[in-house]
C-alpha cells in the first residue's frame, strides 16, 4: 500500500524508531510522577543523555556503552533535581525548568568539538531470515535493540506497577506521602529512586537521538522531545501501555510530516513542521477536558514532603 511515494511498511518501521526517544523519556517520567514528583526537566535530562552518550560512543567506539553513558548523564542531572526538591524542598516546577535550561547549556558546552563527527552505528538485532518476511520483516524484525528495549520496558513497567509490591509502594507514595510516611515508608528515599530512574530513561532516550535518529551532535538536538514526552504521560493517563500508544502516535505524526515534506506536499513546510506541537496541544485538550480525577493523576503530584513531626 502506498500513499503516493510513501510505503506503509517503511512508515511503520520508521515511526517505531522515531518514537523511541519520547517513549523512553515518557516511561521514565511516568514512574517519577507515579511517585508524586513532577519533574519538568525531561528535556534537559534528555539532552544531557544525548551528549554524554555521544561522547562515550565517540571515545569508546561502543554504541552500547554510549547508551550506558547517556543513562548515567541523565540520571546525574536528575539527582540535582532530586536534591533540590526532595532535600531542600524547592518548587518542583521551577526546578524542572532550571534543569532544562542548565541541561541545554551544559550539553552545548560539553559538545564543543564534537560537531560533525559520526558515531559508530547501532546495528539491527540479527533475526536472520525473519527480517526477510514481506511487510512484517521490515516492521518487526529490522530494528536495533533499543527499539525492543523500549517496548519491553513499557510491558515491564505495566507489570511492576500493577502486580508487584514495589509498584504498590510507589503508587502509595504518589497518592499520599503522609499516609505512606505514617506507615513507615521512606518517602524521600523512594522518590529519589524514582527520579534517578526517570533521569536514566530520559538519558537513554536522548542518547538514541544523537546516536541513532540523527545521528550526530548538534546543539539543542532534542528539539522539544522532552516536553512532548511530558505531554504523552498526560495522554497516557499514567498508564505504561498507553505511553506506548501515545509515543507511536507522535512518532507516526513526526515521520508522516517528514515524509510529506520530502514528498513535496501542497501543505507548506512550516505548517508541517509545527504539526507535532499543535497535535500535542490538541491531545492535551482532549485528555484534560474529562472531569476531576478521571484523569488518574497521582494525588500528591508536585507536592513536596517534609516530615514535620
Amino acid at each position: 500500500m502506498d500513499f503516493g511515494s510513501i510505503n506503509l511498511a517503511v512508515l511503520i518501521a520508521s515511526l517505531m524508531v522515531a518514537s523511541v526517544p519520547i517513549m523512553l523519556a515518557a516511561l521514565g517520567e511516568l514512574i517519577v510522577e507515579k511517585a508524586g514528583v513532577l519533574n519538568l526537566g525531561v528535556e534537559g535530562m534528555m539532552i544531557m543523555g544525548a551528549i554524554c552518550g555521544f561522547i562515550v560512543t565517540i571515545q569508546t567506539q561502543s554504541p552500547f556503552l554510549g547508551f550506558v553513558g547517556g543513562a548515567i548523564g541523565g540520571a546525574a542531572l536528575s539527582m540535582v533535581f532530586a536534591f533540590l526538591t526532595q532535600v531542600l524542598l524547592a518548587n518542583q516546577v521551577a526546578t524542572g525548568l532550571a534543569l532544562t535550561m542548565f541541561g541545554l547549556g551544559m550539553s552545548s558546552l560539553m559538545g564543543q568539538g564534537y560537531n560533525g563527527l559520526k558515531p559508530v552505528p547501532t546495528p539491527p538485532v540479527p533475526f536472520g531470515p525473519l527480517a526477510d518476511i514481506p511487510f512484517f520483516g521490515p516492521v518487526l524484525f529490522s530494528h536495533d535493540w533499543v527499539v525492543y528495549f523500549s517496548i519491553f520496558m513499557s510491558g515491564l513497567l505495566w507489570w511492576v506497577l500493577k502486580s508487584t509490591r514495589m509498584g504498590l509502594i510507589l503508587r502509595a507514595v504518589g497518592e499520599s506521602h503522609e499516609a505512606a510516611h505514617a506507615l513507615g515508608y521512606k518517602v524521600i528515599r523512594i522518590r529519589f529512586g524514582a527520579i534517578a530512574f526517570g533521569g536514566a530513561m530520559a538519558g537513554i532516550g536522548g542518547a538514541y537521538v544523537s546516536l541513532v535518529r540523527v545521528p550526530q551532535w548538534v546543539d539543542g538536538i532534542t528539539a522539544g522531545a522532552g516536553w512532548i514526552a511530558l505531554a504523552i504521560v498526560v495522554f497516557a493517563a499514567w498508564k505504561p501501555w498507553r505511553v506506548l500508544i501515545g509515543a507511536y502516535l507522535f512518532g507516526g505524526i513526526t515521520v508522516l510530516q517528514l515524509n510529506l515534506q520530502v514528498a513535496g506536499s501542497w501543505i507548506p513546510v512550516e505548517y508541517l513542521s509545527m504539526s507535532p506541537y499543535l497535535i500535542t496541544i490538541l491531545v492535551l485538550v482532549i485528555m484534560s477536558s474529562g472531569k476531576g480525577r478521571a484523569l488518574n493523576a497521582p494525588a500528591a503530584l508536585g507536592q513536596n514532603f517534609h516530615a514535620s513531626r
Binding site: 504498590l168 509502594i169 505514617a182 497521582p298
Partner: protein
Amino acid sequence: MTSDLPMLLHVDAISKAYPGVIANHDVSFSIRQGEVHALLGENGAGKSTLVKMIYGLVKPDSGQMRWLGAPYAPTAPRVARSTGVAMVFQHFSLFEALNVAENVALGMENPPPMKALAARITQVSQDYGLPLDPARMVGDLSAGERQRVEIIRCLLQDPKLLIMDEPTSVLTPQEVEILFKTLRQLAAEGTAILYISHKLEEIRSLCDAATILRRGKVVGTADPKTSTARELAEAMVGATLTPPERAAPKDWGDAEPALAVQNLSAASPIPFGTSLKEISFSVERGEVLGIGGVAGNGQDELLLALSGEIAAGAQMIRAAGRPVGAMGPADRRRIGFVMAPEDRLGHAAAPDMSLVENAFLTGGVRRGLVKNGFIDWPAARVFADAVINAYDVRTPGSHVAARALSGGNLQKFVIGRELSQSPDVIVINQPTWGVDAAAAAAIRQAILDRAAAGAAVVIISQDLDELLEIADNFAVLNLGRLTVPRPVKGLTVDQIGLMMGGVHGMETAHVPA
C-alpha cells in the same frame, strides 16, 4: 480482673520536646496483656506524640520502654509491627485511590499474594463482625468503613498491642457499639488495647484502666469503672467548666427566614467527595441549627455551597427572601454572611500570610477595608488586633504568619474574625475542632451571643455533645442528604443514631448474629 496477666508494655519516664513545645514530659505508664487501657487527655495533651513513640514513628528524647520485660526502642514502624504493635490512625494512613486489599497490604510486613490476602480480609472481617469488600476503592468508602480497613489491617498481623487513636470520632452511635464488641472480643483473646480518647462515657464503658495526660504530663491514673465522668473531666481539663448560657428565645417577627435553603443540589468539587442532594432547611434569626453526621457525608460540600465557593441555583439559597444561591463568597459577605470552614490552615486562613492579611481575607468586605480597589492596610491591622484582643488569641502580634499559631489559637482567630463582622447569617463547620475545653466553651458562648443579637446560625459539627449543647434544632447529613430538622429538646441518642443512618456498609458481607 486483668491484674494477674503478665505486663506487656512498660513506658518509663519518656520525654519528647519540639521547638517551642514540650509534647511529653516524664511520662510513665504500663499496660498488661488483655487490658483495655485509656489514654485520656484534651487536644494538645500529648497523647498522639506518646503513641507515635510506641509505634516507632517518633524517637523519644529521653526515657525508655520495656516490652515483656526486655528493652524496647523501635527505630521504625516496621520494627514496632514485627514486635506486635499495631495502630489505627485518626487521619492520614489510607490511600483513597487504592483498593481495600492494597491498603491492607501496604500496612503489612510480608503480605501474602493479593488473592490470598483478599480471602483473609473477608475471613477476618466476618470473624469480627466488620464486613468489608477487599476490591472496593477506599475513596468510595464511608468513614466508618475506612476505619474497618485500618482495624483489619492491624488484626491480620495478630497484634499483641493495638493502639486506637480517637476511633469513634468517625462513627455513628450504632457503629460505636459494634466497634466496642470487636474490641472486647480482642481483649478477651489476650490483645492489649491502648485506647486514646477524650470522650469520657466511652472510656467508662470500655476501659479497665486510664492514664490522664495534661499538657504533656501524667496528672493521674483512674479506674474508669468506678470514677464518675465529672471526676475524669476535671482531672483531664484541670478546672471546672460551666455550660454556656442561653438567652431566652425571642420572636423577631420576620416575614421570611434569615436563611432558607430549598432543594439544594450540587456536585462535589473534591475528589471522592459527596455531592449534595436536595437539601432543604431554614433558620430564623436568633436560631441555632446544628447539623451532625459522620465526617465525609457532605459537610465540606455544604459549607462550600453556603459560602458561595461552589455555585448553586439562585433560588436554592435565600437570605431574608432574597435569592443568593448564585453569588460568590464576596457578594454573600456583603449581604451579611460570615463563614468558617473546617480546615483552618489553607482554607480559612493562608498559612504563610500575616494575621493582618488573614484578617483582611474575609473582613475586607464588611469592615470596609477596600477603597477603589486599594487596601487600607492600617485599618486591616486595627481589625486584626481587635480580633486578637477580643478572642484571647495568643500571638506575639498581628504581624506573625498564621502558621505560627497553635491550632487552638488559630481557630480562635478565625472564629473571632468571622463573628466580629456583625453578621446576619453565620455558617461554621467544626467550631471547636482541636481546641482545648476552656477555649471551646468560650467559642460556643460567643456563637450563642451572636445568635442572641439576631444572627441565624448554622453549626456543622461531628461532636454530638456540642450540637446538643448549643443548637435549637438538629439535623443530620447522611450521604449528601439532610434529614428534616427536629427540635433538640427530647431527642435521644438512639434517635440521633438512626438519623445518622445507623450502621453503614453492613450489607457488603454476611454478619454473624
